[in-house]
Symmetry: C2
């Protein structure tokens, strides 16, 4: 029987967007992984989480293993509020929802705000999972370019003004990663942040601020959009994936209570008491500000190694942005199709993600690629870039 005949039309259409394969093929053994946005293994607190589970279950027995029961689930919300305060954001209980990572947060927001007619504005390039999620809801995505100072709000303004002149609908929201963006590593300037908020007011749209990398600054940090938001237009997404461990699957949405109320209603995987209570105990037992200093030092060092290896090994045809935090360096190689080059890179023993996957119009990404300095250690990073340099030189 053809069960697919039961899918409604919008689901059938969304399923057509499923990419045919993975972003990168299976890696050869000993490949240096510059593709993957995983935290550094040495910074993932496996011992501390083991201790957290032990003390949690010794103390509370079955409580964190039921649907509700552990007081630590509530304590986690307090811990997240503390993280938000560090980002200049103060929220009440009703303005905060714990999610299964940033991905679920993006999906829930899309779920409650978008229908098939809705317009969404995204950065170009942007987080590939977000592109996939939005296209499950609507075909109407507008791409706004990013340069080394982040989202080009002047281009956004032109587009909005032209849509207005032409009587076209405006976006329901703009999705942005203003700080240490994925994939470009860029940070939106303070002026552009202010400009973006003004545009949201003038043209009446919401802003979804994905701050997954926001605490990983190498130097100083700018105020978040949510901290500058006087009109409750910003839905702020955070996550422990990049600063503790993605396998815990804990993120959050901070925003207007109507948004949180609706998101909570459509979030049908319920709470995750075991993971959430474990995280709460881990955080209670950790000097997290000290931990963050270690994270920042480590990633700053790794990034410096990657950048200096790029200077050393890459030819003139390659250029890149210098990030001030986060996990990623975005590179352009003039005249090269980075998708085609990937097989040669993997054969040489180094991986990256071809730039095209981060664009709505994949052709815009042909010459780009994303490098990540988060996962491998400094020695491997330098060796990986040496290999990449060889591949690029050979192709020229």
């Amino acid at each position: 029987m053809n069960v697919a005949s039961f899918f409604p039309e919008n689901i059938k259409a969304a399923l057509k967007n499923i990419p045919p394969g993975e972003w990168i093929p299976e890696l050869p053994e000993d490949c240096i992984r510059l593709h993957c946005g995983y935290p550094a293994p040495a910074l993932v607190p496996d011992k501390e989480l083991k201790a957290a589970v032990a003390s949690l279950l010794e103390e509370e027995r079955d409580l964190p293993l039921h649907y509700i029961g552990s007081p630590n689930i509530l304590k986690l919300k307090e811990q997240i509020k503390k993280r938000l305060e560090e980002r200049g954001i103060s929220v009440s209980e009703e303005e905060l929802l714990i999610t299964s990572g940033a991905c679920q947060a993006i999906d829930l927001i899309a779920r409650i705000i978008l229908d098939e007619e809705s317009i969404v504005a995204v950065e170009s390039p942007t987080y590939m999972e977000a592109l996939e999620i939005f296209q499950n809801y609507t075909k109407h995505l507008i791409s706004i370019p990013v340069d080394k100072h982040g989202l080009q709000t002047d281009v956004l303004e032109e587009i909005l003004a032209e849509r207005k002149r032409n009587g076209l609908a405006q976006p329901r929201f703009l999705y942005t990663i203003p700080t240490f963006q994925n994939p470009t590593g860029t940070t939106m300037t303070a002026e552009r942040r202010q400009h973006l908020l003004e545009l949201a007011d003038s043209y009446n749209f919401l802003i979804v601020e994905d701050d997954a990398y926001g605490e990983l600054s190498f130097y100083k940090n700018l105020p978040t959009l949510k901290a500058m938001d006087k009109m409750s237009r910003v839905l702020h997404i955070g996550s422990f994936s990049k600063i503790v461990a993605p396998g815990m699957r804990i993120g959050w949405i901070a925003g207007a209570r109507e948004i949180i109320h609706a998101s909570a209603w459509f979030k049908k995987d319920l709470n995750h008491p075991f993971a959430q209570a474990t995280m709460a105990v881990y955080l209670a037992n950790t000097d997290f500000e000290a931990k963050l200093l270690t994270l920042r030092d480590t990633y700053r060092g790794k990034c410096a190694v990657l950048l200096s290896a790029l200077e050393q090994y890459l030819p003139e045809s390659a250029s890149w942005y210098v990030p001030e935090g986060g996990y990623f360096v975005w590179m352009k190689i003039s005249g090269v199709d980075t998708s085609k080059m990937l097989a040669a890179a993997l054969a040489e023993g180094v991986s990256y993600i071809p730039g095209k996957y981060f664009f709505m119009n994949q052709a815009d990404g042909t010459e780009f690629l994303r490098l990540s300095f988060s996962y491998e250690d400094e020695k491997e990073i330098a060796e990986g870039i040496r290999r990449l340099g060889r591949v690029v030189e050979a192709g020229l």
Copy 2:
């Protein structure tokens, strides 16, 4: 700013269905909890899960804390296949999706099958969360009554035949808990199961079989609908919530590969490596068949205590179904509004869930209530029913 103005019409409509309060109000201290479908605390393997985390993280370090990496995530699928085989179901890798509990499984299926025009058939009464979920997608729910032999398939047939005569659309799927149903505790007979499958073929609809309680049989067990399903019409949902621990949030869907493929695409909370790898290690270290015998013995004993207390303490006006497994006993008290009686019961120190919440048309549930024997120990159960008897007598 009114952010709610950004919600599409279907979301606004769904939000109107949010119940104003909880199913039961805050419990007084020392209340005997006969409302809650939690496993017995003594049967929740907190020590074993603590040991599982310790051995997992000692052996694999950071692997289960990344997005992907622990071989135990794959092993969990093998463990679930073993559980399915015990239910007479054999599936391939591509016919199985791990979810965050049965709730997420129900939501994903609704997500990929239903649109605003779709008809869904549900048992009456049925699992309250399922009713909430379906109403997020469509207003068109059809209730099919349950009696002590489970879903009344003859009534279903009449309804389907009449809809056909009238040229009305048929249900996309029927949602059923055929084994130890929530809330009635009833089990659909083999004849009715066969009849239901024939109806699904004749009238071309899918069957969503929620088997969350299926392994908790006191005596023997009937074949699952999925085991009898020759046409891939059955989407089978299972869970570790009732047999291990709900706080782990692990369930699954077994069904046609198109269904699994689509569900996986719309499941945007990703995998939960820490919880899933922990479960895999726990299962690998556990004689689960022996564990199931203990579960069945314990719940059979508790159920017997509850039933005998009902005989002893409840007046003639009360009647109930005798379950052959699961967590619940469904009771009717003629002439009593169980919602109104709840305050008196809580004041007396015993809780239950008023029957109305399990019905699309809540008025149908006025005289019913759900008792759970899963959570409290035998002594408390007997005392709880003694208290309930006093409340019912006083009200008469």
